[in-house]
Symmetry: C2
Subunit: 387 residues, 2 copies
């Protein structure tokens, strides 16, 4: 109960949707405000003379956390922005193919489809059957579609609708060896699952800090390995690399100086890392995981639909279960909120509906019990055409 | 003195550079924080279910202020972003020409040059001789360069380095009649000078709210007339127009839903408009203008360089004067700050150096006196090669 007080969430809501937008703890919000006050105290010093050094200090702390070189990271507003920068930058030619999975976030499917359409390339969704039985089968599904036209492999490390941790390492090592660029949507990764970006086989990685790292909304990063940084072109052209800063990096200067904006969120990242160290220790993570298993078992029992995950090792702080086909997922979601103030998302993918629970340190067992109880109560009442 | 207390600016700094980043008053910052707290209280409601209606309410108030239809405006982070969206969106073909002036903001020159290079088009800077003697001469300078290849006319309504209000109406009416798209960089306009966008001849207009409207940093808008909105393509592709909102506008849905970000700044705009109404009334504006004339006369007397403006009617809250050629502008700027805590910018354009004073309601005559005094003292000490 004390931990929930660290957050600003409405105490009357059973908040089981950390995944969509995260939640920012009070100490981080205070830090955010402190930076904003400093910015307003002397805007020209803050956003002019000190801009580069302020961001650099923050980036260095983030880079330790991600085990990445600080020069290979730039701050952006969200993973969507990072992935757009990457996707527009890669020189796709007519006929080139981008392979994604059938488990990607819908907005990013839309992005690849529109960008590929624009460039005459093709976005192909590799069919991943759930549950994923092994990394070998996952890699094989991809490799069946790889050919001489394959330019990019794109996948979420943790999927959105289905909350699955996908086994990407072997796949991306093979991609690397074949000269295929790997682009990883890590929107849900930082703070939920550790990464070591520099020794990873990933060329590009997009991650949010505002989801599982507790940062203010609009705090995210784009990671690009040095050998692919020259590919990246900014979508917003400003002074860019012509600016005179302490950064001896065209990549950073082109990407971080985009006209006047509030960079305070980016500057809270070092505190977010400390907050994670303090509150998301091994013990806390084990407790969350136990509660996640408990929630999963309950959802399985109530919903009786096939599991989409074999071993829970592929879920970390989120778990998604398929709704029965005769359930009106939209109505269910709405009634859970309107009648019981339970905030939990339902989404559609490949003709199936998934209800996804997110668990964070502020969630407690009685909330999961309350949710399971109301889910059981409502699931038989929210049937298709029952309005 | 009381008015300065409404702001968070360092009281030890003589702040004569409102123009670069603006300054946000305390009541607006409190409103900003209030929105941020609401966002953190129930993030899914705020950024999910209520996202469109929150932005719509704010946009409506901004549209009244700008005399624009609310459906023709979208919020963006800054004018740089708005202009990039416009410039990338316009379908420039090889050989097409974009006419700008030789008085544009350097980052936007760079933007047009790179985008034109990318598309095989040409960015041409029309030579505007200063002072501008008449609107006719200004229009003529442009029209001499207009030909069948001219696709876009681009100009700042208030220039950055030279702080001049350019006479754009007649020019853009002619452009309109010839099927040439007009793109106006209004970065310094909203709050400093009234506009009536709907009855203006401008196709596209980019304006900041964080400069002269007192909004938090990162608050700006893109205006597009209905007949050119179909040209606009988002740089960041997300759910866009596929999202289910109350907005019956592809333009708004494509442009305002860009992944998770802090929209609180945008939501403070109605309060910014009220703040302007209250504090920037006719009387206050007249006082600022008087002080600007006073500053101008002083700078002229000290610097003895030719005036770049004939009548001060072409300046509003900013005034720029050319530095003598033998003055090291960079050193002068630095000494003004380091030795006397006077924050005022010096910039270079067309081989000339300009020192630009900005005046806002929080500035008082003794600050201008102090500046003039120190300018006189330093100008003979900061000579080229005198380091």
């Amino acid at each position: 109960m004390e931990i929930k007080n660290l957050f600003q969430l409405n105490p009357e809501v059973v908040f089981l949707n950390h995944g969509s937008f995260g939640a920012c703890p009070k100490p981080v919000m205070e830090e955010y405000l402190t930076w904003q006050r400093k910015m307003e105290f002397q805007p020209v010093e803050f956003l002019g003379r000190n801009h580069a050094s302020l961001l650099k200090t923050s980036r260095e702390k983030l880079s330790e956390f991600l085990q990445a070189s600080p020069d290979d990271l730039v701050y952006v507003s969200n993973a969507t922005t990072a992935l757009n920068i990457i996707a527009w930058s890669i020189d796709l030619k007519p006929g080139d193919e981008v392979l994604g999975t059938n488990l990607e976030y819908g907005a990013m499917d839309r992005m690849w489809e529109l960008i590929c359409l624009h460039k005459g390339a093709k976005y192909i969704k590799v069919q991943i059957d759930l549950p994923i039985k092994s990394e070998e089968l996952f890699v094989e599904a991809f490799m069946r579609q790889v050919n001489g036209r394959t330019k990019v492999i794109f996948a979420s490390m943790i999927t959105s609708s289905t909350a699955l941790y996908l086994p990407l390492y072997k796949l991306c090592r093979i991609a690397n060896s074949q000269g295929i660029i790997s682009v990883i949507d890590g929107a849900h990764v930082p703070g939920q699952f550790p990464v070591q970006l520099d020794i990873s086989p990933f060329d590009f990685f997009a991650g949010n800090c505002h989801k599982w790292m507790f940062a203010p909304k609009g705090t995210a990063f784009l990671y690009a390995k040095k050998n692919v940084q020259h590919l990246i072109k900014p979508l917003i052209i400003s002074w860019g690399k012509e600016i005179d800063t302490l950064n001896n990096s065209d990549f950073i200067n082109d990407m971080e100086y985009l006209g006047t904006r509030d960079i305070s969120g980016f500057l809270t990242v070092p505190l977010c890392v400390s907050f994670l160290d303090e509150y998301l220790n091994q013990n806390a993570r084990a407790q969350i995981y136990d509660l996640l298993i408990y929630a999963k078992d309950g959802m399985e029992l109530i919903l009786k639909t096939p599991k989409i995950v074999d071993s829970l090792e592929r879920c970390i702080q989120m778990y998604a279960h398929q709704l029965p086909e005769n359930v009106d997922g939209k109505m269910l979601k709405q009634k859970l909120y309107d009648d019981f103030k339970i905030e939990i998302p339902v989404s559609n993918q490949n003709g199936k509906q998934f209800i996804r629970i997110s668990l964070q340190i502020y969630n407690i067992r009685s909330e999961v019990d309350f949710f399971l109880n109301k889910l059981e109560y409502l699931v038989s009442k929210c049937l298709v055409n029952s309005k």
